[in-house]
């Protein structure tokens, strides 16, 4: 036991002290905050920016359409600086006025300009030119302001008075979205998918990163012959267990730091997002119970043991980093093909693909937690998934330990699959 502890301690301490660990641990929260803040920021960009208030209206209608449009673009005229400037121009002078306005935009005095004329009143056409012409939200708002103004003019013609007109055309619609699952309402749909994606990415990244860490660690011990010295002191199974547990603990430490700091950042998101110029959006984290948290942890641990023991076996069977990369490709294909399914599973978490992938040991440690994040999973399905994964783990450990103890002592050419199969049958 003391020896197992010595191995775990070495793996843990040496890795946690490395620069690489510190950098990756700092990068995590930045990445996860970015996942949360960037979409919020983008969605705030999809609301119209304040740029549209700095628009010039070139009014060639001759009936005050421009001033009404200005009021409609501003929305709330009590806020100072919102009312776009209106220039009433004669139709013959329009070309010159446009050229002046273009220069103003080029000199960045103005964002852009709208041209309204008789055809606009007829509801046929209007023109906009400006720096924000590609902003869908800005254009949508200007377009709807023009429509409102046209509508108002028409209503006025029919004989509706000004106050009634406002009443009819003013529709301050706030369109909010919410997702419903088998369990009922589940908070913001986007948040849930984001959360599922974050979980999937976290599990995928740690399995790839720490699996390869173990692989190159085993390879280093083999090529430097440290492995032989260690094996003369402890049984190979102890060495393998110590490595998997030690590196697993490093991964867990990193994830705990990631989760805690991301949580703190989320709590502080309002001031952070204000700095990005985004309004604090309502963001309900999906409710994670302690039980669900423990199940997440189990999936992480089992998934980690499954893959890292196989990575260790690969590391023990080869003699160089380049050989290791080649030999690890079947494992990498297993993981990457699972990662490819993250998005389809998020889109259809109850589909057959999702259900099958969450039963197969090589994909279940990533797919099942993702599904858990977005939908409620029947306990039976959860138990079956964990059960198969546990069996997969035992099989992987058995296989790995047998390849490992032979592979570590075999130098020279890379073994074929047949040779490795024979190693498994060796006594010791």
């Amino acid at each position: 036991m003391a020896k197992l502890w010595a191995i775990i301690k070495r793996e843990y301490v040496e890795r946690v002290r490395s620069k690489w660990f510190v950098i990756a641990t700092l990068f995590g929260p930045i990445f996860f905050s970015a996942i949360i803040i960037v979409p919020a920021w983008l969605s705030s960009r999809s609301k119209a920016t304040s740029d549209i208030y700095n628009t010039t209206i070139l009014d060639a209608t001759g009936n005050g359409f421009g001033h009404r449009l200005a009021v409609n673009i501003a929305g709330d005229t009590t806020v100072p600086g919102r009312l776009p400037e209106v220039r009433v121009v004669a139709p013959s002078m329009l070309t010159r006025a446009e050229s002046t306005a273009t220069h103003e935009v080029m000199d960045k005095e103005k964002t852009g300009y709208v041209v309204v004329d008789q055809q606009t009143i007829a509801g046929e056409s209007a023109r906009y030119a400006g720096r924000n012409a590609t902003s869908i939200a800005d254009m949508a708002q200007i377009k709807s302001a023009i429509r409102e103004t046209i509508l108002a003019s028409r209503l006025e013609k029919v004989g509706l008075d000004n106050s009634r007109m406002k009443e009819i055309t003013f529709i301050p619609l706030d369109f909010s979205t919410e997702r419903i699952t088998e369990k009922g309402r589940a908070g913001s749909g986007i948040a849930s998918v984001m959360f599922g994606f974050a979980i999937g990415f976290l599990l995928y990244a740690s399995i790839v990163i720490y699996g390869q860490t173990i692989m190159s660690g085993v390879l280093e011990e083999k090529t430097t012959r440290v492995a032989e010295v260690v094996m003369s002191s402890v049984p190979t199974d102890t060495l393998l267990a110590g490595k998997v547990l030690g590196v697993g603990a490093v991964g867990l430490t990193q994830q705990i730091i990631w989760i805690v700091t991301t949580y703190v950042l989320l709590q502080l998101r309002a001031p952070i997002m204000a700095k990005f110029g985004a309004p604090a959006m309502s963001f309900t984290l999906p409710d994670i119970s302690l039980g669900a948290g423990l199940i997440f942890l189990l999936f992480f641990l089992f998934g980690f043991i499954f893959y890292s023991s196989l990575f260790a076996a690969v590391g023990s069977s080869v003699n160089s980093e380049s050989e290791a990369r080649q030999a690890a490709s079947p494992l990498m294909i297993m993981i990457i093909s699972t990662a490819v399914f993250i998005q389809p599973v998020l889109l259809n978490p109850t589909g057959t693909t999702a259900r099958v992938l969450s039963l197969v040991p090589f994909s279940s440690p990533i797919i099942m937690p993702i599904r858990m994040a977005v939908i409620g999973i029947p306990p039976l399905e959860l138990a079956a998934s964990l059960g198969f994964l546990a069996i997969g783990c035992i099989a992987a450990l058995w296989l790995a330990s047998r390849i490992y103890r032979v592979g570590l002592l075999m130098y020279g050419k890379r073994p074929s699959i047949r040779e490795m199969a024979r190693w498994v049958s060796y006594s010791r």
Binding site: A2, K3, R10, R225, V226, E228, S232, V234
Partner: protein
């Protein structure tokens, strides 16, 4: 203390392609320096790994100090230096050593004390510079070898196993290693090392075992082996170019079996029952002026060549070195 540090009885280890060790029986007396000699691929490393319980024999038994080699108590009494050497490159020297000591059951504070002792002894720790605080890959190759050697001995093992310890050592470290082996023996420790360099074995070992193709060729004390398997040869050197004058004597197959020109002297093997005095008399009678006439024992190298044969050389045997 038991009589034998290592007691191997009828051990066989097979792999799919070949038998690495075949029916090997070997006894290493406690407190001796023992050489395991043989060409590359003879089964030396496999034998050592079985002694260390890294691999298990297919049949036969191995006892270390009277206990089965799988007994965990036994592993803590053994120190091992593998053939090709390396350490965790990115790790601090002291922490590597502490880790190796902990694997052998040495407690932390005791390990630290011993590490400082050893670092000072092998001048890796001087008032100017403590290499123990450096990372392994900052050390020169020679220094890394010293560190690894410390790692082998930190837990003060009773049985020290060195696999090809002299390969790749610079002359200074090789001398330090020899001194340490002698010192270990004086302290009653048992040292077993494998080598294909017969000179080292001849100088250091009390007993040897020669193996080839997985089988024992011969074993025993160095003196015993020489008496049993060697002939008594004669070194003969004459003044000037007197050698020509005795050519007829050397080619007389009723007296001389073989004469080997070693440049500065002839190494002469007499036919069985041949009398050295007869040879000396005939040489003097031929009028040659004798500079050296000496009864010499055959070297281990010669015995090895005779026993293992040319096939052994082809498999990687090197002579002196």
């Amino acid at each position: 203390m038991t009589e034998y540090a290592i007691d191997i009885v009828n051990v066989t280890k097979r792999y799919a392609e070949h038998t690495a060790v075949r029916d090997l029986t070997l006894r290493v007396p406690t407190g001796s320096v023992y050489g395991l000699l043989g060409p590359n691929g003879a089964g030396k490393t496999t034998t050592i790994r079985m002694i260390l319980n890294i691999i298990a024999p297919d049949s036969g038994t191995i006892h270390i100090f009277g206990r089965p080699s799988s007994d965990p108590k036994v592993t803590e009494r053994m120190g091992y230096l593998p053939e090709e050497r390396g350490l965790y490159r990115k790790m601090q020297v002291k922490r590597v050593l502490k880790f190796l000591a902990e694997l052998k059951g040495v407690k932390g504070s005791e390990a630290e004390r011993r590490i400082d002792d050893w670092l000072e002894r092998l001048s890796l720790k001087t008032p100017e510079k403590d290499w123990g605080l450096s990372k392994v890959d900052e050390l020169s190759r020679g220094m890394q070898q010293k560190v690894q050697f410390i790692g082998t001995l930190l837990h003060d093992p009773d049985l020290v196993i060195l696999d090809e310890p002299f390969s790749g050592l610079d002359p200074i470290n090789a001398q330090a290693l020899k001194d340490t082996v002698v010192e270990l023996k004086k302290r009653g420790k048992t040292v077993i090392f494998s080598t294909h360099l017969m000179d080292n074995a001849e100088r250091l070992c009390d007993s040897v075992c020669i193996i080839a193709r997985g089988e024992k060729v011969l074993d025993g004390t160095v003196t015993g082996v020489k008496e049993e398997h060697g002939q008594r040869n004669i070194a003969l050197a004459l003044e000037g170019d007197g050698m020509k004058g005795i050519a007829s004597i050397l080619s007389d197959h009723s007296l001389v079996k073989r004469a080997d020109d070693s440049n500065r002297f002839f190494e002469i093997e007499l036919v069985p029952g041949g009398d050295p005095q007869t040879l000396l008399r005939r040489v003097v009678e031929s009028g040659a002026s004798v500079q050296r006439f000496e009864m010499i024992q055959p070297s281990l190298h010669e015995i090895f060549l005779k026993k293992v044969g040319a096939a052994g050389i082809e498999e990687g045997m090197t002579g002196h070195g």
